[in-house]
Point group: C2
Chain length 152, copies 2
């Protein structure tokens, strides 16, 4: 079985079943490759009173896109660690009037390796990621988020 | 009809029907008085892979608690204006292992009046609010959020 496909399926199940709000948002993993991850979401379950995407839904989609990458780094390293978001700065740039995508690029390889090494050595480590929302309007929201891993 | 009760019912409908993700989170308005607003949410629809509350759900609940107050100021002033979140800074302090509440205090009366006056005079105004999550563990997350109103 192709490992990338298997990872994407594992990730989508985690983001929609273990985190039911991702399921309520009807999230799908539409890309997972050397560049990063892309989640695609329909507007309807995330709509607000103005017919555009609710800010909390955009924030949630970005938090999940960012979380996915260190989660996969830990999984590839065979490490059981909890991974939580510690803080984030969110900017909402333009209303989203249709389906949207949450994207996140992998951290630099050296940062990813150091993250895993620190979890191994010290039992905890953190990683800064910068997911964003892409919609027909262009980049609609950005997040700068710090994720922390704690070895179980 | 008691106007406060009527407002709370209107608010709850807005937060759960016009914004279906609030409905998916099974949010209820459990307090709306001179101090501010309190939303109460069960853990189950907002749970994550660790059995605690998903950060995006906590952020969404706080964004809605903060949004509720300028929304009600506009409604009381009889003004039709869109109200959106522009940016926010979120801190996740401790895992939430059960039901939780999102609370927000009213802005100072003078700030609330100035907000409405500016929307009337200039067609737009913004307001900074600081909702938070309260759970059995105490304050579990905080938000500093800027909301902007734009007259329709």
């Amino acid at each position: 079985m192709d490992n990338t496909i298997s990872e994407a399926a594992w990730l989508e199940r985690t983001l929609t079943t273990d985190i039911p709000l991702g399921g309520a948002m009807d999230l799908t993993v539409t890309r997972l490759d050397d560049e990063g991850v892309e989640l695609t979401l329909p507007l309807a379950p995330s709509v607000n009173d103005k017919g555009t995407a609710f800010g909390g839904a955009l924030a949630s989609a970005m938090i999940l896109a960012g979380w996915a990458l260190p989660r996969l780094l830990l999984r590839r390293a065979g490490m059981s660690a909890e991974l939580v978001i510690g803080r984030c700065e969110t900017r909402f740039l333009t209303p989203v009037r249709g389906d949207f995508r949450a994207l996140c690029a992998w951290p630099r390889a050296s940062d990813g390796r150091r993250f895993i090494e620190r979890v191994e050595e010290k039992g905890r480590a953190s990683l800064l990621l910068e997911p964003r929302i892409l919609a027909a309007e262009g980049v609609a929201a950005t997040l700068v988020a710090k994720y922390a891993a704690l070895r179980g």
